[in-house]
Every structure is written in C-alpha cells, then in structure tokens.
C-alpha cells in the first residue's frame, strides 16, 4: 500500500476517536560498500520506509509507528496511538502545523551520486585502499575502507491539511588504518562527506589517515596537571555535539541542563559565537522545515560568549509557553520528537592553526577524544574524556600522547578560549551537522602518569 492510500486510511480510522493526527513518513535507499584487501568485503543495499503517527485525543498525546503499510497495520497504528494517549500529561502537547504552500527546492539537494555507477564507486574505494596501503611501509592493515550513500525522502501530513515533502542525498567515505613499528600499534582515520563522489580526493583521505597513524606511533601519557592546550576542530565538534541536549528548551524547562537560568549570561569567552543556520549553503543538514513541519529559522545561540537562547520544538505546557524555533526533529520514526540543530556553526577566527600552536610555549595539542557517550554529561556540563594528541614545545609539535584524560566543564572550557582559528571543519552528520574551528584554551586538567 502506498503512503497516500495508507494516510487516508489512518485518518479515516482515527477520526472517531482522535481529534488531531499527524503522519511522518520517511523512505530511504542506501548503498554501502566496504573494501578489504582489494575485494568487496561487504556490499549492502536497502530500500525501506516507515510511518509514525502522533495523535491527540480527548486525553493526551499518543505515539505509534509501523514499518508495515497495510490495512491491519493502519488499524493497529491508530489504536496504539489512542491507547498511548490515555495516560500522557494532558497539559503538555505539541501543536501541529497548519497547511501552507511549500514548493520543494530541488537545487538544495541535487541527486549527483546517482550518476556514478556502482562499479565506479567500488573502483574509487579500491583505489583509496591501495593508496593508503602504499603510502608507508609501517601501515599493516586497512581496518575499514567504507563508502555509503543515503537517499532520504521525508513527508509530513496532518489533519490540519498540511502535506509537505522534501528529500536529501548524502554520502560519506571513511577510512581507518593500523600502523605498527616494533611493539607500537596506532590507528588513524579520515572521512569526507559529499553529495558528489566524483569530487572526492581519495589521495588526500589516504594521506590524512596514514599520517595520523604514523605520527601517533610510540604515543605515551604525559604527567597529570593543568596544560595550555590547542583543541583540534574535529575534537571541538564532538564536544559541542555531546553537549547539544543542554541547549534544548525542554531540558532547560525540566531542570535537566546546566544552562538553566543562564540566558543573557556569559558562558564563554567573547571569541565564541555559535549560530544555527538551516540555510547554510551546501550544509548537509540544510532544510526548510523541521520534522513537525515548522519552518526552520536562522538563530544565534551564543553571541560573543553570551547565551542568547535555546532550541524548541512545538511542545508547550500549561505553565511554560515556548514557541517552536523549527528545531523539532526525530532520530527515526521510532523516536519521539526532540530538539536538535540543523547546521550548527562556531564562527571562525582569522588565525591559522599553526600560528596558534606557534604561540604555545609549553602545552598539548588534542587531536582525538573517545568516550563521549559516557564521559560527557549534558545535565551537569561536566566531561572527562580519553584523549590523544601531541606535546607542544616552544611553539612546535613534539612527541605523540595517548592514555590521558582531559576533564572539565563546558562553561569553564568555553570561557578559557583564547584564540579561535580559521580552519572550520564539518563532522560526519549525526544529531545535526556541526562545524567548528580549532581553538586554543589557557588551561585544561589532564590526568596521565
């Protein structure tokens, strides 16, 4: 059954028990290729779709979803949403969007990747693996050499007459290599996000991954203490993404964010400005409306260190009225709506990363962190993370470091920013798309030997 028929059926079946209904439909086509030792080791194709229902009855809001689109499923979908709504808080609900005219702008998401044949994508990955393998004799294995492209269609239809849709296409290539010398083992990785795989420079990817692995051979801890540090863009992105739930209006209202009551206050150095821009040219999370159908808006979250506001979806409660900022998104049809940014960008400075490193007499350069899902707490703002990088001595990079942790609090970290570099990098799209430059901070706690 196609979505048009299915949605009519759901709205009809629900009309006697439910006051308002909203269907969220996504379909995805994906292709994944993994190359190992010059063979296609894993090849995955998919074509899948699913529907989520949000319904408001006489009682509260209920959610349901299904990956099967037939008459029986439509019935279950309506009944489950109705049953789920019986117990939910009657004083808090989302507000569905009224119908508006929307014309999908195809230029936002050209379908480039479809031009390239599967064989050419495979060849691209074979080439990448070969390049990485041949760059340095100390590279013993290409652990992962993976290509994926994902074509997503999204449609939102509700009983207030809204019916809008868009689509997006995105691909990424990731490579991870293992290097060995004597008893030392290290790994290095690199990735690129793209819409057009023909524009990917595989030799650059191979070089970045290999150089990282080689440079980390023989890494060992530094002694515990407070260090002046340069934090690489890729690491800063990860930290920001981890703390993003603290910028969610609903978490703030529920007392689940350390940023509560800090609106208008300085939470960072004046060099830090963070914007959320759904219309960013070429942004991988650029879109005109969120998953509730609300129009997205450009906004400043932090202006020269001052906290300007939070991200909201359309959920409103009796005592706290908040207006959607167009940031209500779902991780999948199986998730409820929560807030996330589209493209989140930390404004860049004017200095080159090596100039910033050049000013550090004694310190460390943090190039990679791990343990984000457990060592970072967005409620308290605290973090304690596994890190690796290099010593900085008299403005130059020295020996590699691993086996240390960096610890602190986000506000403390942002306030200690002394310099912002000009090297904006966008990470792999996850819970939004994050772009940030490298930063220099005057002090961070390090635990090591």
């Amino acid at each position: 059954m196609d979505f048009n028929a299915f949605s009519s059926l759901v709205f009809k079946k629900g009309s006697d028990r439910l006051e308002e209904m909203e269907l969220f439909h996504t379909s995805k086509r994906t292709l994944k290729i993994e190359v190992f030792n010059q063979k296609v080791d894993n090849y995955i194709v998919s074509d899948s779709a699913g529907v989520a229902l949000r319904a408001i009855g006489l009682e509260g809001l209920g959610h349901s979803y299904t990956e099967r689109l037939d008459e029986k499923s439509a019935e279950i979908l309506v009944d489950e949403a109705y049953q789920n709504g019986k117990f939910t808080d009657k004083d808090e609900r989302p507000y569905f969007t009224k119908a508006y005219e929307y014309i999908y702008r195809a230029e936002n998401n050209p379908d480039y990747s479809q031009d390239l044949k599967v064989e050419e994508k495979i060849n691209l990955m074979m080439e990448l693996e070969k390049q990485a393998k041949n760059l340095d004799g100390r590279v013993t294995k290409i652990q992962m050499c993976s290509y994926e492209d994902v074509f997503t269609e999204r449609r939102i239809k509700n009983t207030l007459g809204l019916d809008i849709e868009d689509r997006s296409l995105m691909g990424y290539i990731y490579i991870s290599v293992v290097a060995k010398q004597d008893d030392n083992v290290s790994t290095g990785s690199s990735y690129v996000v793209f819409r057009d795989p023909k524009k990917v420079d595989t030799s650059k990817l191979a070089r970045e991954a290999v150089e990282e692995a080689i440079s980390l051979l023989g890494a060992r801890p530094v002694s515990s203490g407070n260090y002046c540090a340069v934090i690489r863009n890729r690491v800063f992105i990860d930290i920001l993404e981890g703390f993003m739930p603290a910028f969610s209006g609903i978490n703030v209202q529920r007392g689940l964010s350390f940023l509560k009551d800090k609106e208008g206050e300085l939470i960072g150095s004046t060099k830090i400005t963070i914007t959320e821009d759904p219309f960013l040219d070429g942004g991988y999370c650029s879109c005109d409306f969120d998953d509730e159908g609300y129009r997205t808006t450009k906004k400043i979250l932090v202006h020269e260190g001052r906290l300007e506001g939070f991200l909201y979806d359309s959920r409103e409660s009796k005592d706290k009225i908040s207006t959607s900022t167009g940031n209500g998104f779902r991780n999948s049809i199986k998730a409820t709506v929560s807030t996330r940014p589209t493209n989140l960008l930390v404004e860049k400075g004017s200095r080159k990363p090596n100039e910033i490193i050049g000013e550090v007499a004694a310190g460390i350069y943090i190039t990679e962190i791990a343990g984000l899902h457990s060592g970072l707490d967005f409620v308290s703002g605290d973090f304690s993370l596994q890190a690796q990088g290099f010593i900085i001595e008299n403005g130059s990079l020295g020996r590699p470091i691993k086996g240390i942790t960096i610890s602190g609090n986000l506000i403390q970290l942002l306030k200690s920013v002394e310099e912002v570099s000009d090297d904006i990098l966008f990470g792999l799209p996850g819970n939004g798309c994050y772009g940030a430059p490298s930063i220099k901070i005057n002090s961070i706690s390090v635990s090591g030997d």
């Binding site: 063979k39 296609v40 080791d41 894993n42 090849y43 995955i44 194709v45 998919s46 074509d47 899948s48 779709a49 989520a52 509260g60 209920g62 959610h63 349901s64 979803y65 299904t66 689109l69 499923s73 279950i76 049953q83 789920n84 117990f87 939910t88 808080d89 808090e92 294995k141 652990q143 293992v178 083992v185 290290s186 515990s224 203490g225 407070n226 529920r254 007392g255 689940l256 350390f258 049809i333 199986k334 409820t336 791990a370 343990g371 457990s374 060592g375 409620v379 308290s380 304690s384 993370l385 596994q386 691993k402 086996g403 240390i404 942790t405 610890s407 002090s443 635990s447 090591g448 030997d449």
Partner: protein
C-alpha cells in the same frame, strides 16, 4: 511470517549466479516505551518493526540487502539484484530445509501483551515518588519502562529453518540532584529477557531509591584528583572493564582482519592468573541471552580466558571462514537492517576468593569505583575508557569521601595483567552495546576486582 515455498524460491534466486551460502533473516518486532518526567507521563510510544534481510556469501565476501516488504515478488527481486554481484554460474544449490528448534533459555511466565498500560504507568509513578521522596536535593526524576517482543525466522541454503522469540523488559530511573546551581545524576536500569514477571524480582521503588542515592552522593562529592592509582571496581556493571578492555578485541570481526590487540594470542597468557572470563549466551533470562544467535546457531557458554590464558574468540560465520574456525554462536545484529557479526552476549569475570577488606585494606591511596557507566575501545590498539558514575577515594585502607566525574583509561593488554584481586560477589549489569551490527542488549558482570594501577581522569584546580 514467510512461507517455505517462497523462502526456497528466494534462496534459489540468491544463489542463481554464484555464491556458496544464502540466508534470509525475517523480523517482526513489537515495542513499547513509556516515559515519565516530573510525575507525569510525557511520552508513550509503541510500534512494529518489520522487515527482511537477505545475505549471500561467496567465500569471505558478503552481499546484503534489506526491505520492509515481505511479498514474494519483491524478495525475489531483491535476491536477484544482490546475486548480480556474484561471478556468473550457480555452484551451490540450496538444501532442503528442516525445521530445527532449540532449547528455551528464556522462559516467559507473564507475556507483556497480557498486562495493560495502566499497570505499567503505576510502576513508573511509584518509582518516581520513591526517588523524589528520597531526599530534598533530588530536583528531577525521569522514569522509563521499555518492552519488546522480537520474533525472528532464519532460513539458509544449508537447510536451516529456525525461529526464535525474544521478550525483553527494562525499567530505568534517572534522578537529578541539584545544589547551589550544580546538577548531578544517578542512573539505574535493570532489565532481563523475561516477561512482566521481571517485577517479581525487581522492586521499582528500590530502583528509584538507588538512582536517587547515587545522585545525592555525587552532588556532595568533590572532583577526583587524577593520576595513576590502584582502583577497586565493584561488582555488576563494573564488568564494563572487561567488556571494553578485552571483550571487543576478542570479536572475530577485528581478529580476522588482524585489527585486534589480542590477535594471534590463543593459548597465550594474556591476563593475570586471577582472571577467568566467560561469554555466556545461554544464561537463563539474561539481558543478552538468546536461544540462537542471529545466524541461527545455538548460543553457548564460551570460556574466553581461563586462569589468564586466552582460550577462545567470539566467532560468527563469515569471520570464522577467514580464521578457519567454527562459529561460537556469537553472531548478532540489532535488526534486519544489519548483516550480523560477532558480538558479546553476557560477559563476565568468574568469581575468586578475595574479600573486600583484602582488596581495599592494603591501598594507601586509590579509588573505589562503586557504579560504572559505559565506555569504548579502539580494538586495534586496545586503548579503552569507561566512566565512573559513583566513586569514592580510598585512603589508608578505608573508603573515604565521594568523588565525581572520573573516567578510567588504559590499555587492554596491560590492564588485564594488573588485575591482582578478584572477589566472590559475582553480579551482572545490563546495558546496550553499539558496534558494526548496531545496538544490541548485553550483560556485563564481575565480582569486585582490584587493578593495581590505572589512570583515573580527574580535575586539578589551578594552584
């Protein structure tokens, strides 16, 4: 469900242009989640996951496709499009399928579908009040109830036709303590592969109180001072140490590609003689227990390390081919959206004889890690981390004041040799483990153990 004639046609099509093995994985899963915040149900969500994955192997190469459709035409089409990447001629014909059913490790007394939502909501409210009422520093409490029933069918060209049904229930409380503008969290989330009878064993009010107790302890705590010190890691979720430091690196997906710190070390001493470690997919009603793995191989109890000597890896079919080893029943996947690979089920360090006093009494300055959070590892280097959710200083052989926010980091190869004491109080903890084949439920466990030296992440205020 799929019928047999249809499955035969799909497998035939899959092997029509080469390949030596074809498999169908069908999944139909019902889930329900209810979440309460500030005394009110904020989200109640239920639904149905439904889809089919088809896999063809040719030696150690794999092609995989999935779809939500279960119509014969679309499945045959998918099998055909996958078969196009094979070399040309059919070499293997699917064998006649014989239904095989395996022993039931997870008996269900009270099916979740027989219990109404109202009763589940009452549990959430009760735990909320228990946690909220624990102490006035508790400023917010979130409670969550999760259930799922996953029905799968696996059929393959070796003649296998088997099914499994997996019911899981979990109850989680997250308590937030607030004092002088600071926030700290406590979390406790027991779960099992059983029906609603879980609540005959789990008292939800106690779950709430435990989360609140941790939050309260941590709001009154100082930050840990970092450095390399001896650590005593308490039982239960403390098993995350072994899971990260060694378990992942024993997965064939890394070992077979020479990307594991433990590769090529079978029968070698890799840990201190105190360490015997087991991964048991058959543990009755365990959170990570299934009857069969996601390739249809019966799960089993695998001894990974015996008295410090490495005995086994965790092996799935395709990586087993690379390594010349049989499957250990360890192939797992989150859903039909993932091809399976080798993963852990219920992993633990076996009990020893040391008492708490023996472990703590001899430490002059160290850390007692009472509750642990998640972690991660780079299997190639063995470098791992995991978070301490509730920690205390050890001073002069005694447990002293609470400390916050410590992450422990180390190297798997090194740390296993530094385990110099294993207690007798084995207990399991439940979590979700994410890797190449998605997020799967796993148990981790251990008795209390002592590590003679490990790096504790902490904060040192500027002098």
């Amino acid at each position: 469900m799929l019928n047999r004639i249809m499955v035969e046609r799909v497998l035939n099509e899959a092997l029509s242009r080469g390949g030596d093995f074809a498999e169908i994985f069908f999944e139909d899963k019902m889930t329900s989640n209810i979440k309460l915040v500030q005394g009110e149900i904020k989200d109640s969500l239920s639904g149905r996951d439904y889809g089919v994955g088809i896999r063809i192997l040719e030696g150690t190469n794999s092609v995989y496709g999935y779809t939500n459709s279960s119509s014969e035409k679309e499945l045959v089409d998918l099998a055909r499009s996958l078969s196009l990447s094979m070399s040309g001629e059919a070499t293997v014909r699917p064998q006649t399928m014989r239904e095989t059913l395996y022993s039931e490790n997870n008996s269900i007394k009270i099916p979740i579908s027989t219990v109404g939502k109202k009763e589940k909501v009452e549990l959430l409210k009760s735990a909320y009040h228990a946690a909220k009422g624990y102490d006035q520093v508790i400023s917010q409490v979130t409670t969550a109830y999760m259930e799922e029933e996953q029905k799968i069918l696996i059929a393959n060209s070796d003649g296998l036709w088997t099914t499994d049904s997996r019911t899981r229930v979990r109850f989680a409380v997250s308590a937030t303590a607030s004092l002088n503008g600071e926030l700290q969290q406590g979390y406790y989330a027991p779960g099992a592969s059983m029906g609603y009878e879980l609540f005959e064993y789990v008292d939800v009010d106690k779950v709430g109180v435990e989360a609140a107790r941790i939050a309260k302890a941590m709001i009154h705590a100082d930050y840990a001072q970092g450095g390399k010190i001896p650590v005593v890691i308490e039982n239960g979720f403390g098993g995350v140490l072994f899971h990260e430091a060694c378990g992942h690196a024993l997965e064939a997906s890394f070992v077979s590609k020479d990307a594991s710190a433990f590769g090529g070390k079978l029968e070698q001493e890799v840990a201190s003689p105190h360490v015997t470690a087991i991964d048991d997919g058959t543990m009755i009603n365990g959170w990570g227990t299934t009857n069969i793995d996601d390739e249809g191989t019966p799960t089993r109890k695998n001894i990974l390390i015996q008295n410090g000597v490495l005995k086994s890896y965790l092996v799935d079919k395709i990586n087993g081919r690379r390594m010349g080893m049989e499957s250990t029943g360890s192939a797992r996947r989150q859903s039909y959206r993932y091809p399976p690979t080798s993963r852990m089920n219920n992993t633990y360090i076996a009990p020893g004889h040391m008492t708490h006093n023996d472990m703590i009494g001899s430490i002059e300055r160290g850390l007692y890690a009472k509750n642990l959070g998640g972690g991660s590892v780079n299997p190639a280097t063995g470098d791992f981390n995991f978070a301490v959710m509730e920690g205390y200083l050890i001073k002069n052989g005694k447990i002293a004041g609470p400390v916050r926010g410590a992450t422990l980091v180390g190297n798997g190869i090194e740390v296993l040799k530094l385990i110099d004491g294993v207690g007798s109080n084995l207990k399991m903890g439940q979590g979700m483990c994410g890797a190449a084949s998605g997020s799967v439920p796993v148990s981790v466990g251990q008795p209390a153990i002592r590590v003679s030296s490990i790096t504790v992440g902490g904060r040192k205020e500027d002098d």
